[in-house]
């Protein structure tokens, strides 16, 4: 099936069609339209600006490579966001295999370990999110900020949906505690 056949069944955005046909400049337009949301997602998931910049680049390179598989069954934004989450979580799993450290866990008490609480420092929500342990931060960002369901998060993060729920409630408790201090 050719690019134009793929796009014929969707809201055939000419820029998207051109990008699918291999036009990097058309893809640049898509990039500029979406980079703000993708960087925000990467920054919140990674908790680190420099890493978020690298991940944002990876997301768009991956999107370019996979663009022919976008068939318009969902909005392009939805497709791109899901791809971005997969890129970040895949990168994290790869890093984990290298470092053998990973905090997506069924043990809720583990959420609090290793957190720099910085006593007496008032935090805004963004800073507080960045201080959440990785597993709790991932679920909080994906569920409360990005609107993914627990089942979707479970699928993407390769955890049980119950674990996702437990992490979310733990994340909220931690955040509320820090913000009200």
């Amino acid at each position: 099936m050719g690019v134009h056949e793929i796009a014929s069944g969707m809201n055939a955005d000419p820029g998207l069609l051109a990008a699918q046909a291999g036009d990097p400049d058309a893809f640049g337009t898509l990039y500029h339209a979406h980079v703000g949301r993708i960087f925000a997602l990467c920054l919140r998931l990674a908790g680190d600006s420099r890493r978020a910049e690298e991940l944002t680049q990876d997301v768009f390179v991956r999107a370019w490579e996979r663009l022919s598989s976008f068939r318009g069954e969902s909005a392009f934004t939805t497709w791109l966001h899901r791809l971005a989450v997969n890129v970040v979580l895949t990168d994290r799993r790869t890093a984990w295999r290298r470092s053998r450290r990973f905090e997506l866990t069924d043990d809720p008490a583990a959420f609090e370990r290793g957190v720099d609480r910085s006593e007496g420092v008032e935090l805004d929500l963004e800073a507080a999110i960045s201080r959440l342990p990785e597993g709790a931060r991932t679920v909080f960002v994906l569920h409360d900020v990005e609107g993914f369901t627990h089942d979707e998060i479970a699928d993407m993060a390769r955890i049980a949906a119950g674990t996702s729920r437990a992490q979310l409630f733990r994340a909220r408790r931690l955040l509320r505690g820090w913000l009200e201090r």
Binding site: P24, V35, F39, Q57, S68
Partner: protein, 203 residues
């Protein structure tokens, strides 16, 4: 109501979308459950600030030039390059096989049986390819139909090249060049399958 059921309702309650009967049941549970009181309060206090978070944040620098550079580099070696490689492989196989058979040394042909030579070269590759094919089958539905078509078309091309090399090696089992050619075909097959499986898992 259990704490688990209550937790499942908290978000809808905070959003104001919970049916009145369920909302009442949740309130009754929360009135006697300290843990769920904390969870409800946390959800309620964060809902507004989370909604107020910016959905867009621009990166500190312009990332587009670096992304653009990687696009040009990346686009070429995709499926198109694999297809070209596969076509090249079969073309080379045909030509090289013909040349090699043409200058075959009849005295060396009897050094090993053709079947044994083929088995020696193919050991490991066949099992590896079968495992990858099974993995690809599992992730098949996540790949776009046109991607599957390209993968299958290229696997066919490679299979023809392998078959041709195998037949030639059976005729001339001592020919090292034919062994290399057969091994190259299997390596291409495994590489293509590995890439397809990787794609199906990443999507």
């Amino acid at each position: 109501m259990t704490c688990e059921s209550a937790r499942n309702l908290i978000d809808s309650y905070v959003a104001g979308t919970l049916a009145a009967r369920d909302a009442l049941a949740l309130e009754e549970h929360v009135a006697v459950c300290a843990e769920c009181t904390i969870d409800l309060a946390a959800a309620g206090s964060l809902a507004g600030p989370v909604r107020a978070l910016p959905r867009r944040m621009d990166p500190p620098g312009d990332l587009w030039p670096a992304v653009r550079q990687r696009l040009v580099r990346k686009r070429t070696p995709g499926w198109g390059a694999l297809a070209a490689a596969a076509v090249l492989l079969i073309a080379l196989t045909s030509v090289v096989t013909a040349l090699l058979l043409d200058r075959r040394d009849a005295t060396t042909a009897s050094l090993a049986s053709g079947a044994a030579a083929v088995r020696m070269v193919e050991a490991g590759y066949v099992e590896q390819a079968l495992e990858l094919e099974a993995a690809l089958e599992q992730g098949r539905e996540r790949l776009a139909p046109e991607t599957i078509t390209i993968v299958e078309r290229n696997l066919d091309v490679i299979a023809k090249a392998i078959a041709e090399s195998r037949a030639a090696l059976e005729q001339d089992p001592a020919n090292q060049d034919l062994r290399i050619l057969l091994r190259t075909g299997h390596e291409q097959r495994v590489a293509l399958l590995e890439q397809a499986v990787r794609l199906s898992r990443e999507l």
